[in-house]
Amino acid sequence: MELDQALQTFLMESRELLEAMEESLLGLESAPDDPDAINAIFRAAHTIKGSGGLFGLDGIVAFTHVVENVLDRVRAGEAAVNGELIALLLSCRDHIGMLVEQVAAGSAARPDKETEATGIMLLNQLKAYQAGVQERPLVPAAAPSRPQATVLPQPGGAVESGHWHISLRFGQDVLRNGMDPLAFIRYLGNMGEITHVITLPDAMPPSPEMDPESCYLGFEIDFCGDNVDKAAIEGVFEFVRDDCTLRILPPHSRIEEYIQFIAGLPEDKIRLGELLVECGSLTRKELDEALRVQETLRAGCGQEAAPMLGDILVEQGVVPPELVDAALGKQKLAREHKVQESKLIRIQADKLDQLINLVGEMVIAGAATSLLAQRNRDPALHEATSTLSRLVEEIRDSALQLRMVQIGETFNRFNRVVRDVSKELGKDIGLAISGAETELDKSVVEKIGDPLMHLVRNSMDHGIEKAETRMKRGKPAKGTVHLNAYHESGSIVVEVGDDGGGLNREKIFAKALEKGLITASQTLSDQEVYGLIFEAGFSTAEAVTNLSGRGVGMDVVRRNIEALRGTVEIASREGAGTTVKIRLPLTLAIIDGFLMGVGSASYVVPLDLVMECIELGEAERREIRESHYINLRGTVLPFIRLRDRFRERGKAGRRENIVVVQYAGQKAGLVVDELMGEFQAVIKPLGKLFGNLKGISGSTILGSGEVALILDVPALIQRAVNQETQLLAS
């Protein structure tokens, strides 16, 4: 895997983890002692820190480490969870998010000044929660750029020494290449304090073979630096990188790491173990612990001679019990992680798009084959193609299903928004979510976030009244914003509702009049009046105090939704609240269509919208020749003659049919010549030239290679209904 790709994965995972973290943090607000939530938060921070370290993102590691420490105390019950801490942790989460985004933006090296300042501020606040974590003196919290200072002892299994341990083995040619190990160590001394050096002359051969111009030395260095990270230490030895073996153990590495480290060195293992102690990298405490184990061993097995310290450290089986526990826990965690991984695969979105494209082409090709089979009247071939088309249909559905995601994730993001905005506004507002499991196409989900954000903010800002007003109106002081989603005849409906003051019809009407959007003589339904707030530049700031003051935005919301072939409508009851309903198509790529013929042309409507088909007899045709509605089982059904609508010139068929379509609760009929049945339509967008065409939303290719137009049913229904109302009014 390329590093770049791995980094992308890291970024993606971090974002997900941060989201999970936020969710759990918000959960803690209502249930402060939920151990699962605390663990989830801790794990998120821990994983981000760990993965960040892999990429050398020291800023993230340093900051997250402090957060993790505080979380660890919370987990251990040493620090109480309260609103203040949750708010602080939320800010920390945001800060980590910021650092991650800056990595994503490519400024990995250094966070900008502002971020750095935020980091320092947060670290200072965190200090209050970590004071007294361990009896070891705490290094004062510092900027992310000083990871050394913020690296704190990890609980369990880590060695106590707060120093770096650097192991150097120079190649024989280093002197001849004009480098002097002395100089490098001297230079290292400039960066911090070299607390201890052990020079290892062991590699020097007997004097006859010893070449005085070769270097045979190795060094074990215990180093302490305030301003130093691993890269900086590596940087010191940059020039001799090819000529030396460099191993660096950061402060408080685990004993296991030391064991591996020792095993990786050429010298005698036992001696090295003792050297490390001498060097100060392993301290008296670790030594004692190892000795204790040694005692137990001897007592248990009746061994004659106790193994030396080095042996104990090397023998992985006899590391202190807490280390074994930690290692076991780690393994278990890894296993759980693996199980989860096998359930989920990460795929690039464009690979999926490619698949859907191919499926689309296959649908078209399949349709062509079926057509041929029909023409040839070969029953065997016909049967084969019908099996094939069933399979194609299933493949299409599963391929589209792959892109379906639950809207819940998008909804959950609003928990934080509502929390923050309500604090900002000084209103007590809660968020209620329903229908979170409703699925819709990923591409739709991505685009719906911004409009939703706007609507939610609007509801909170201008929909929900101040607490006093609410009390006066006999409503609970706490306002509620409601997010809901459900499927309805081939589309998904997303609702943003509030239990606020509702819209004021008169004021909107007056404002629209003033703006010249309507004339005084117009009679408008409530629906239409409310719809006016989506008009561009319709700011009701002065006119309607309980509605958006910004004005800009609502029209953008509508434009965004319409770009997705969706519609927005608004329902409101004064004093009781407002609900904005967004209706979106489930998918943007392939639909189950209903194919109809008018003259020589073919049209497709989404099958989900078709309610029924009615044949028009000769008598009825005469009857309705001049009108635009029929009596359908006692109700008025307005209709549109597609022949007239699209100026079809071909000879009229002997028979006509009405296709009854329904959208957003309204019904209308489409009069066509021929009903051609179900058809899988791969939606091809129309060119720019046809962008302004009303009533057509796209095109598709038939099996015969001809082009059929996909009808924009909402627009047609609107037209039919309008026509009808106008006729009735006149």
Binding site: G189, H196, T199, P201, M204, S207, M210, P212
Partner: protein, 107 residues
């Protein structure tokens, strides 16, 4: 670099002057080892060593080891500041086990 040698009573006194660096290491190795061969006790006076690098230091290590292997004694005396710095940096003064005069403006 010059090494002047005085011998008496089985004790060989070698006085190294100038640079103890890689440029002279090959020659110095021969001289020091042959010195050691000829005596039972070698005293190396470092007072006039103006510069020492890793190669020079390695030669001292080699001499010390060879002496120990042969059951002879090797002493380093009158360390110059340049020598002391190297011994200090490598933390090897104890290895040679010689009394060291700390320079006045040292640590």
């Amino acid at each position: 670099m010059t090494i002047s040698i005085e011998t008496g009573n089985g004790v060989c006194q070698a006085r190294v002057a100038g640079e103890m660096t890689i440029y002279h290491a090959a020659g110095m190795k021969g001289e020091l080892l042959s010195c050691l061969d000829r005596c039972t006790e070698l005293e190396i006076n470092l007072s006039e060593v103006s510069e020492m690098d890793t190669a020079g230091f390695q030669l001292l290590l080699l001499a010390k080891r060879e002496a120990a292997n042969a059951g002879k004694r090797l002493r380093l005396v009158a360390h110059s500041p340049a020598t002391l710095e190297v011994l200090d940096l490598f933390n090897m003064a104890h290895y040679f086990g010689d009394p060291v005069m700390m320079p006045r403006h040292g640590h």
